[in-house]
């Protein structure tokens, strides 16, 4: 990683324009040295950075797979995987409980952590760029709590059905996330366009309302249901079986690609809306796309992981320092890093007090918080 940090320092282009919330409307900031359009990002650097991150992610995945209720060494790991690949289910059965633990419990969970972390980080990047606010992330804007409310209602009424290859819980969570975004959108477009600060405030207020409703739903549940619900609210990765994982992965990937395609527009948006419009960006369309994609991604993610804060806020900032503020690199790099971070955090959550698990949301905050404060105070990381 040190190598990459050195590489990017020579680039210099950094510090996305982030204004603290002020009561005034659109303050047209003078364009700073923010990367614009197509310059400054050589394809080689893009490729190198992402390859390095992908390699690191694979390495972390292999390390995380070794830890859990029982330690499984690397050699054993490879032996089981090769058996499973070669002989399928029969090969897996021959390895006994260890094989089942590795291939059907641990691997899905680590992969899920990667997917969830990646999505939260990418969505965080998108929202921060869109709102030009360093605090924006799906958690703060009420999208997560909207999704949690949907999921909570599904649990409360014991909904168990499937539609479109998704079971009731993720569907309700997505509906909740969408509802939250729709409401924010409606509030903010009362003037016919989307003022950024109104959007942010509406999101924060909605977050408070939805959180209160989630608390209410939890309080009227039967004791052991509310037990599960509380636990889930603190962040718990529940990996479905492989076919469902595949559906989820396809869905998330599609959403991420939609986000990635907005990268160039997001670069211009960081200059301020007026400038972006002048440069030919369909500002309202971009906002809508990023906003609703974020909601749909967050809903799906929340349904399998509960409320995991911090990843969506911290990872984008950390990556901006590392890769610069060009969204064409920042978005995929943050996705990889977010995945990596959550894999590591979840492994700690699984093993620290084994056989008892602690909520992964606790770990992400405790591990990420101090680091974030360090970033804020170090001279290198003037974030806002």
């Amino acid at each position: 990683m040190g190598l990459m940090a050195r590489q990017t320092q020579s680039e210099g282009g950094r510090a996305v324009v982030t204004e603290p919330v002020v009561a005034a409307g659109e303050s047209a900031e003078p364009p700073r040295a923010a990367p614009v359009g197509s310059s400054r990002l050589s394809p080689l650097r893009w490729l190198l950075t992402l390859s390095a991150l992908a390699a690191a992610a694979v390495l972390v995945l292999l390390i995380c797979l070794q830890f859990g209720a029982e330690r499984i060494g690397l050699a054993e790991e490879i032996r089981i995987v090769s058996l499973a690949v070669r002989d399928g289910q029969a090969g897996l059965d021959s390895t006994g409980a260890t094989g089942v633990i590795l291939m059907q419990v641990r691997l899905p969970r680590v992969l899920l952590a990667f997917m969830v972390g990646g999505c939260l980080a990418a969505v965080g990047v998108g929202l921060q760029a869109l709102l030009r606010n360093p605090l924006a992330d799906p958690y703060v804007l009420g999208i997560s709590s909207g999704a949690a409310l949907g999921a909570g209602l599904a649990i409360l009424f014991g909904l168990t059905g499937t539609a479109l290859a998704f079971s009731a819980l993720p569907l309700c969570a997505m509906a909740g996330g969408l509802l939250s975004v729709l409401v924010v959108y409606r509030i903010a477009t009362a003037y016919g366009y989307l003022p950024i600060h109104t959007l942010l405030l509406a999101g924060v207020i909605l977050n408070a309302i939805f959180s209160a409703l989630v608390m209410f739903v939890t309080s009227i549940m039967e004791p052991n249901r509310s037990f599960g619900m509380m636990s889930w609210l603190m962040g718990t990765l529940t990996a479905p079986d492989y076919p469902a994982m595949l559906v989820l992965a396809g869905y998330l990937l599609a959403g991420l690609l939609v986000l990635f395609r907005q990268a160039a527009s997001l670069n211009l948006l960081t200059l301020g809306e007026e400038s972006a419009r002048a440069l030919g960006v369909e500002v309202e369309a971009v906002k809508k796309t990023v906003f609703f994609t974020s909601a749909l991604l967050t809903g799906a993610v929340v349904s399998v992981s509960g409320m995991i804060g911090f990843v969506g806020m911290v990872i984008p900032h950390a990556m901006r320092l590392l890769t610069g503020a060009d969204h064409r690199l920042l978005l995929p790099a943050s996705a990889l890093m977010g995945g990596l971070y959550l894999m590591a955090a979840d492994t700690i959550a699984r093993t620290l007090l084994a056989p008892t698990e602690i909520p992964v949301g606790v770990v992400t905050a405790l591990a990420g918080g101090p680091f974030f404060i360090y970033l804020l105070t170090s001279r290198k990381g003037r974030l806002a």
Binding site: A69, E70, V100, V105, G228, W232, P355
Partner: protein, 298 residues
């Protein structure tokens, strides 16, 4: 503990003091409570206590219960005062001369307020199943129903002892008690049900957990390989059928191989009251069906 059939009455908590019938009682927090005369307006803050009061033949005297007090059926008709967050005003409005409360759900501020209002509050916390018959006797003496309390307690002790004798020598089976599947929450050491499982001839696979209600990792479950899965059903705590079926995915588990999925009435297990012996028997019948004759269980 195998009790021969002796005369009842010897089994009172303090036989040598039975005729003195002291009116001072000490609760499980060590707080002393002096009752000049038997209370006639009692508020119960736990389903188990409500059941104890009814088992002593009381009914008129019970003036307030929790939202979850549903046994015996006539308890449902009593005024409700909430549960984990009892409504202090409705308690006071019932003008109780005794409040029976569990330690688990009584918040310190509620207790302080009751003390401030001079409402006698008696706190019971059964850490072990053996303490429950004594609780019944204590409340019996408080309410001037000592003979009834002794009778109920004796019968409970007899039943518990009988179950212990039945399963005592049998090989113990590994048990997983599923409170909630996703995330998996079960019972650990320090919880009441953990103790019941061990008494009924089982070994709790979450025995190494650090907390009474741990979130157990699935990896640990597969490693410990439970032979019996138990799902609480009915009343306030129920694991739906669809959730139970999810467990069939784990084909390496002994419990899945041998189709050992069982349901148990949750209320019988998690209420430290007069029906606890029935709960223990139900549990023992699930874990060791071969130890019981084929009559239908409780």
């Amino acid at each position: 503990m195998a009790l021969k059939r002796r005369q009842q009455g010897i089994l009172t908590g303090m036989p040598f003091m039975a005729n003195l019938a002291s009116r001072t009682f000490v609760d499980d927090l060590g707080r002393k409570l002096y009752l000049a005369k038997p209370p006639i307006r009692v508020v119960s803050l736990a389903p188990s206590m409500t059941e104890i009061l009814y088992s002593l033949g009381l009914d008129e005297e019970i003036v307030g219960v929790t939202d979850y007090c549903d046994y015996p059926p006539q308890a449902r008709a009593k005024p409700k005062v909430g549960y984990s967050n009892p409504n202090l005003e409705s308690i006071v409005a019932l003008r109780p001369d005794l409040v029976l409360a569990p330690s688990t759900f009584l918040r310190a501020d509620v207790l302080a307020k009751l003390e401030q209002l001079k409402i006698p509050t008696f706190i019971l916390e059964a850490k072990a199943i053996e303490e429950i018959p004594s609780h019944v006797q204590t409340i019996g003496r408080m309410m001037d129903r000592a003979p009834a309390g002794d009778r109920v307690a004796t019968e409970m002790r007899r039943q518990i002892a009988a179950i212990r004798t039945k399963v005592g020598e049998r090989p113990r089976l590994r048990v997983l008690y599923v409170l909630n599947s996703q995330p998996l929450i079960t019972v650990g050491p320090g919880s009441f049900i953990h103790q019941m499982i061990e008494l009924a001839g089982g070994v709790n696979v979450a025995g190494r957990a650090l907390v009474p209600y741990p979130r157990l990792s699935l990896e640990e479950v597969l490693r410990e390989d439970p032979e019996v899965l138990i799902f609480p059903v009915g009343g306030a705590e129920s694991v739906p059928e669809s959730e139970q079926q999810q467990w069939r995915r784990w084909t390496t588990l002994s419990a899945v191989k041998h189709q050992r999925f069982h349901q148990i009435a949750a209320d019988l297990l998690n209420r430290p009251g007069p029906r606890i012996a029935q709960g223990l028997e139900a549990l023992a019948r699930i874990i060791h069906p071969e130890a019981f004759d084929q009559r239908s269980g409780p």
